[in-house]
Every structure is written in C-alpha cells, then in structure tokens.
C-alpha cells in the first residue's frame, strides 16, 4: 500500500511539473511583451526597463521558469532598486496590475469557489445517485421514463439558462431567496447556505444528470451479478441485498468519474460565479483574462491543474480502499 501511495504521489508531482512548464511556456512565449502589459498606462522606456528587470523578464526563459519554481517552494522578491515586493511561498507570481501577489488573490477567492464546488458536488451526488438508483429499480416503469427525461433535460440545458431561470423564479417572482451574495461559512452558516443554494442547484443539475446515468448503468449491471443472486438465495431482504451487496459495485465507477468531472465543474463554475456575481476564482479568471493580467492567468491555471491532479490521486486511493482487488499485494 505504501508503494502504491508513493507511486501515485510521485506521478502527481511529475504531472504538475510538466503542467506548470507548459503553461509557463505558453503564456510567456505568446506574442506581446508581458512587461508592457505589466507596466500599464503612461509607460515610458525607463519604466519599461525597470519593470522588465523587476519581473526578471531580461533573463532567459528557463531561468525565469526556475525562478518561478523557486518562488513556489521558498518564495521570491520582485525588486528594482529600492522598490521591493515580497512574495511568500508558495509564490505563483505577482500581479502588477493590482499590485498583489497572485497567491494572495487566489487564497482570498478560494473559499468562495470551494464552497460553491463542494456544495454543488454534494448536491449533484445526492440527486444523481438517488435518481440513478430509482430508475434502475423501477426499470421500464413510468418513474424511470420521467427520470430519464428530467436528467436528459438537465444535462442538455446550459448552466447560464438554468441559472437565469432559477434567479427569475426564486429571487424575482417568488422572492423566497435573496439574490446571491457570498457570506462566509464561518460568519453565518445559515446565510452561507441560503445564498449559495441557487448557484449549487444550477451547477449540480448538469453533474447530477451524468451521475444518474452512470449510477443507473452500474446498478443494472450489478443487480444481475452472481454474488447479488447468492444473497437473495440466502433470504436477505431486497433492501439488504441492494444496500450491502449491489450498491458498492454500482458506485465504484462513480468515484473515478467524480474526479474526472472536477475539471468540468471548474469550467462550469466560471459561468456560475459570473452569473451569480460570486467573487470566486472563476470570476477572477474572467477578469484577469479580460485585463490580460498574465501572472494571474498562469496562477489560476496551475491551481486548476493541481486541483484536478489531486482529485484524481484521491480517487485512485479511494478506489483502492473500496475495492480489495484493486489493492496491490
């Protein structure tokens, strides 16, 4: 088990290094001088040279990348003469447009995005798994047809449309819920949930549709497996047969899928955050792309990559924990 763990973590580190190198190269080799962008309005030759030096843009690209990695591990200083901006580890870069370290900008927005993503994911799993199980157990009956129609509708409706409809119905007409504004979980958990419930729902519906289809397929497959028949033949209640012997097999593919879907959720979160005006990482991404704040874009990309790689590593470990056959000897 320990070898398995080490191998997985080792692989994750290699993937992240490769990812950061590619992202770095992509952004800094694209046409356009980052120094011009960073130097901003009223830029002159002297200030440009200063900015270049401060950002380390006068170094060759591999030296720049090395500094970037160094910044990640031990932090770095951006200095030109007396003007020093310290960026503590893990330093993902420095945004000269906002005059803040990228890491700080991300950390400030991360709780918002995490609240949105985890809440939506939990809701999606709850909705998806129950809908999937129900339609597997009610196969061929009207309940299954209705669920199939609803999940297909949920899957094929764009998140911004769902979001708009939800806002219109619940906030504008019925006025049951406030127009979402982020309230920190630690300050007021009740308000936190009340404000996030619509964004969760908007984001969860698409995911739930995917989970429902997978759960249904998995359940139909395991319900006819030999070992399920064994426990039926030994007088267990149908509820016990499904709960203890069919469910685990049916949900095993879901663990892997959830990890893959993390990337999907992050993409959808960009839209959701923008639509509901939540100050999360997704909204930051849109803003920094619009204002061509390159260090922030690089930072966001590396962060997103890390989350995806992490999610997949956790899924592998969970899979091994759930299925004794997947455990290395």
């Amino acid at each position: 088990m320990i070898w398995f763990l080490l191998r997985r973590v080792g692989a994750a580190v290699v993937v992240l290094l490769a990812l950061s190198a590619i992202v770095y190269a992509l952004f800094y080799l694209t046409p356009g001088d980052p120094a011009v962008l960073a130097c901003g309005r009223g830029c002159n030759a002297e200030r440009l040279a200063q900015t270049q030096q401060k950002l380390g843009l006068d170094d060759p690209i591999y030296v720049q990348y090395w500094h970037f990695l160094e910044g990640l591990v031990v932090g770095r200083d951006y200095s030109a003469g007396p003007d020093v901006d310290h960026c503590a580890a893990p330093c993902l870069g420095y945004s000269f447009q906002t005059d803040q370290p990228v890491t700080a900008m991300l950390m400030e927005r991360l709780p918002v995005s995490a609240s949105l993503a985890f809440g939506a994911e939990a809701m999606a799993l709850l909705l998806g798994v129950s809908a999937g199980l129900l339609s597997a157990l009610r196969r061929g009956r009207p309940a299954e047809r209705i669920l199939t129609a609803v999940t297909l509708l949920g899957y094929s409706t764009p998140v911004f449309l769902i979001g708009l409809v939800l806002l219109l119905v619940f906030c504008a007409y019925l006025q049951w819920l406030p127009f979402p504004a982020y309230v920190s979980l630690t300050r007021n958990p009740g308000e936190w949930a009340r404000n996030l419930v619509l964004p969760w729902l908007a984001l969860a519906l698409i995911q739930a549709a995917v989970y429902a289809r997978i759960t249904r397929a998995g359940a139909l497959e395991t319900l006819v497996e030999d070992h399920v028949r064994t426990f039926r033949a030994y007088g267990l209640r149908e509820r016990q047969v499904i709960g203890r012997h069919a469910l685990r097999g049916a949900l095993a593919p879901l663990v892997t899928l959830t990890a893959v879907e993390v990337a999907q959720v992050m993409t959808a979160a960009v839209l959701t955050e923008t639509m509901f005006g939540l100050p999360g990482v997704g909204k930051l991404t849109v803003e920094s792309v619009n204002s061509v704040d390159l260090p922030v874009v690089v930072g966001v990309t590396v962060l997103a990559g890390t989350v995806v790689v992490l999610a997949n590593t956790v899924a592998d470990l969970l899979h091994a924990a759930a299925d004794p056959r997947a455990r290395p000897a």
């Binding site: 070992h227 064994t230 033949a233």
Partner: protein, 529 residues
C-alpha cells in the same frame, strides 16, 4: 421416511417459452438426486425454481420444501425458507461471493439474518463452518477477501455459508464445473460427507454424468424441459430406458476406453521444443518475483500425430500453447518448426511461417469478432496473406466444417456454441496450416456437441495431414484424441508417453492422482440404492 422436498408437475415458462415441462420427484432426507442434462435442458431453471429464484417466470405445479409451499409462500416466509430450509450453491464460485467483503463476514451476515445471533457469535460460527468444510487455518482465512481464495476454496466457502444454517435441502447447481478434477473430487466427497453427517438432502445438478454417477442415489435426466428418465443411478447407467439417455451416455468421452489404434508416426519431428521457458514478473518494486509459467519444457511432435497436453489450471498448458505459435515470446529455449527456429525470429520473417501455425481457442463466443459476419472472420487470414478470392474460399471452408455456406453473412450470436467452434476451426484451417494448436477446444460445449467436434477434427486431420497439439484439462477427451500425452504440472512436463501407457500404467504419482480423481461411469463402482 417422508420426502423433505416434493415436486409435482412443475412447469416453468418465460414469456411463451416453457423451460420446464411437468417434472415430478420426491427427495427424502439424507438422499441425493442428480439432475443431468445438456445446456437448454431446463436443469438450472428447475434448480432456481425450488427457491423461487425464477424472477419473471410463470411457475405452476407443486413445490413443497419441509412442508412449506414455495410457490405461494408470503415474502417473509420465503426469506426464512431461503437458506434456512433450502440453500443453494452456485456454479461459478469465482463470482458468487461479494468481491468487496471478507469471506467470514459474508457467512456471518447470512447467519445473523436468519438467527439474529450477535456479531461475535456469527463470526465464531463462520470460522467454525469454514473449518468444517476444510478451509485450512479458518480463523485467519475468514478475514480474507474472495479474490485471495482459490476456486476450490471459494466453493468450500459457499458450501460453508449453506452449512451454517443447517438447511434440510441443499441445491447444488453445477458446483464443480469450474474446478479442476482433483478439486472436484474433494468437493464432491465433502458434499457426500455432509449429507451423511447432517441428514441434509442433496439435489445435484450437472451436465456431467460422471459427477452424478459418483455422488447421487437417483438420477433424473432432463431433455428439452422434460424428465425423460428417472431412476436409481446404477439402473439408469446399466440399462438406460430412454433413447436420449442412451445417446447421452454414448457421447460421454470414456477415460477407460482407448481410441482406435492409429499407425505410429515415425520420422523427423515437425516441431521440436527444447528447454522452453516463459517467466511472468509480478509484485511491487524491490519485492518483484519471477514466476515461471513454463519452466524448461522439452518435447517434439511428429508429422501427422496428435500430442495431448493435460494439466490442471495454472499448470502452464495454455501458456505453452501460446508459446508454440509465438503469440507469446519465450523467455529462453528453442522452438524449431520444420527446421526453422521460431524463438527470437523477427515478426517480419515469422509472418510467412504463421500460415503453417494456427490455433483454435477455447471460447468460440469471444474469439470471434461479434460485429463481423462469420464468413468475413474466416476469410480474414486469407486476406492478410494475400490469397486470391478469399470470400469464395471461406464459403468452401464453412461447408467443409459442416455449416451452410449461405450463412456467410450471419453474425456469431446467431450460431450455437458448437457451430461457433466449427467457425473457429474453419478460420484456423483457412491457410492450410501444418500444425494446429487447439487450446481447450471442446471445454465450453455439451457432450454430444463435443463428440461431433472431436470427430470433425479427426476427419480433418486425416484429410489434410494435420499435426495437432490438443490442450485440455479433460483427461477423458485427451485419451480419445491423442497418440501421445504430456502431463503438465507447475510449468513442467512430469510425464510424456504413448496415450495407453499414460492412462493404463502411469509412471508419475501426479498422473495417478489425476486419473484417480476423474469421475467414472462404471455402474459397478456406483454405490447401491
């Protein structure tokens, strides 16, 4: 003594199809009834209906287990019945246990559901019954997962699950079909012991007359859902009344009757294998182990002869078959085919020789592409080798193996198992090979189909002057087809001699134990009624 299981005019139908057509029998405590039949005879449906496991089926007639009417029992009563009074052991021990849970916990769970015992008591019971069915070190093994058990051990665990509840009737549906002969003999002996010890009645379902002959008092022969014959085993074996029973018995390959003698083959061997070895590597880094699947094997095959290769699962016989046709690369050793050394020959040069080396696989259902018309599958090797008019040749081949060439465009699922194996043989013969390696070619087939395929192979061998390597776990089949036999164990050949020598005066102790484990159809050897 009064019957513990009473079945009267049982009919089971799915949709409009009647799988069981009016079967009646009684089973007294401590007695064993064998139900024998080929695939599609309705024997598994019959077994399942005794526990009302036939979901979606229309069941009529009477099934009474220890005084309870199975057909009309309300749900709670049925649950108490299942396992508690009538328990079932299934064919495939590999998939009949929950792969996610510990073996002991699964037995304990079933025990708790029926008895309401405490967790601790249930766990102790699980260890006790595992020990009773001969799982060594039961205390520790109860905590293992099913995949850590061998096939035979898993079947013991399933029998233990049944045993824990002390049912009055045990229904065993092909309990040993997936197991090696020596393991099969142990499981059958265990069932007989438990019957004597606990007074439990046994309904043993099998396609194998030999299994029934050795373990049942009475036999019921099913054919097309009907009981064509029912009587004491010794009587049915000695004087079968129904013509179907006679045909079935005649088709069973007999380990005790040699194949008609063929002139001995002499001269230069076509294939000469010297010190062949194939290792597989497994395990985590630093603790990597090398497992020799084929461990220094030397033999030759003469032109026109059939070399039988027998062995139990894990003996390396399939690996050997794949090595000979170079589907696997040998780790070391030499394979000389007609003077060419195949080991280490680059694939480009090997390709021309490939037409002389063909293989027939065990499962014709999965070795044919399900999405391709069968005629195309037969024509494929001809296309690969650039032969002219492949479609025409493929039609001729289909006709040669006894199929209608007009079915060229049909897909594999439209054929029966025996027909699919005929297609597999046609494909292997397409390039007129000189050496044909058959890996368990009749294992998945019914005995009557088996006999037909073996006849076809023998005819083709004479007609095309084929040299055959025939790999099988079934000693009786090997005796029927082979000129010489190699017995494999743990990757080595422990005995290689003429067929009659191996079967009548085996030199190696392992060969003797294998032969002893094979169930025989000798009525004199059957215990009296």
């Amino acid at each position: 003594m009064s019957a513990v299981l009473r079945v009267r005019d049982l009919r089971v139908s799915y949709g409009g199809f009647e799988a069981v057509k009016g079967v009646s029998f009684d089973l007294a405590p401590g007695r064993a009834l064998g139900v024998v039949g080929e695939s599609g005879s309705g024997k598994s449906t019959l077994a399942a209906s005794l526990l009302r496991l036939t979901e979606g089926a229309d069941v009529t007639g009477e099934i009474t287990v220890a005084g309870t009417d199975v057909r009309t029992a309300p749900e709670p009563e049925l649950r108490r019945l299942r396992g508690g009074r009538i328990a079932m052991v299934f064919q495939d021990p590999l998939s009949s246990l929950d792969p996610y849970l510990r073996v002991g916990d699964q037995i304990a769970e079933v025990y708790r559901v029926h008895t309401g015992a405490s967790r601790k008591a249930a766990r102790a019971k699980a260890v006790e019954v595992l020990d009773r069915v001969g799982v060594p070190d039961a205390e520790r093994r109860a905590r293992a997962h099913p995949h850590e058990f061998s096939g035979g051990m898993r079947q013991r665990a399933l029998i233990a699950m049944a045993l824990a509840l002390e049912p009055r009737v045990l229904v065993a549906d092909e309990p040993t079909t997936a197991l090696d002969v020596t393991v099969q003999a142990q499981i059958l002996a265990l069932l007989t012991d438990l019957r004597a010890e606990t007074g439990m009645a046994l309904l043993l379902v099998s396609h194998d007359f030999g299994v029934i002959a050795g373990s049942a008092d009475e036999v019921l022969v099913l054919h097309g859902g009907e009981a064509v014959e029912h009587g004491p085993v010794s009587e049915v074996l000695r004087e079968p009344k129904a013509s179907y029973t006679r045909e079935l018995l005649a088709a069973v390959p007999r380990i005790d009757s040699p194949r008609p003698a063929r002139p001995a083959r002499r001269g230069e061997p076509l294939l000469r294998v010297t010190d062949l070895r194939r290792d597989f590597v497994s395990g985590p880094p630093l603790r990597r182990r090398t497992i020799p699947a084929v461990d220094g094997v030397t033999f030759d095959v003469r032109r026109g002869e059939t070399l039988g290769v027998v062995g139990e699962s894990g003996s390396g016989k399939s690996t050997l078959a794949r090595l000979v046709v170079r589907l696997l690369e040998p780790t070391s050793g030499k394979i000389e085919f007609d003077g060419h050394d195949l080991s280490g020959m680059p694939e480009r040069r090997l390709r021309r020789l490939r037409r002389d080396l063909q293989m027939v696989f065990q499962d014709p259902g999965s070795s044919l592409n399900p999405r391709r018309p069968v005629g195309e599958s037969v024509a494929d090797p001809l296309r690969v080798q650039g032969e002219p008019a492949p479609a025409k040749a493929a039609r001729a081949l289909l006709a040669r193996v006894g199929l209608d060439p007009a079915r060229y465009d049909d897909h594999p699922h439209e054929f029966s198992g025996g027909q699919r194996q005929r297609i597999g043989i046609a494909r292997a013969l397409a390039l007129r090979p000189r050496l044909l390696v058959c890996d368990e070619p009749v294992t998945a087939l019914d005995v009557s189909t088996q006999a037909a395929i073996l006849t076809l192979l023998a005819d083709l061998q004479d007609e095309l002057d084929l040299t055959l390597i025939f790999v099988s776990h079934d000693l009786a089949v090997v005796r029927q087809v082979s000129d010489r036999v190699a017995v494999m164990r743990d990757g080595r050949i422990v005995e290689l001699a003429d067929t009659d020598t191996v079967f009548d005066s085996p030199a190696h102790a392992y060969t003797r134990s294998l032969l002893k484990a094979v169930p025989v159809l000798d009525p004199a050897a059957v215990r009296g009624p």
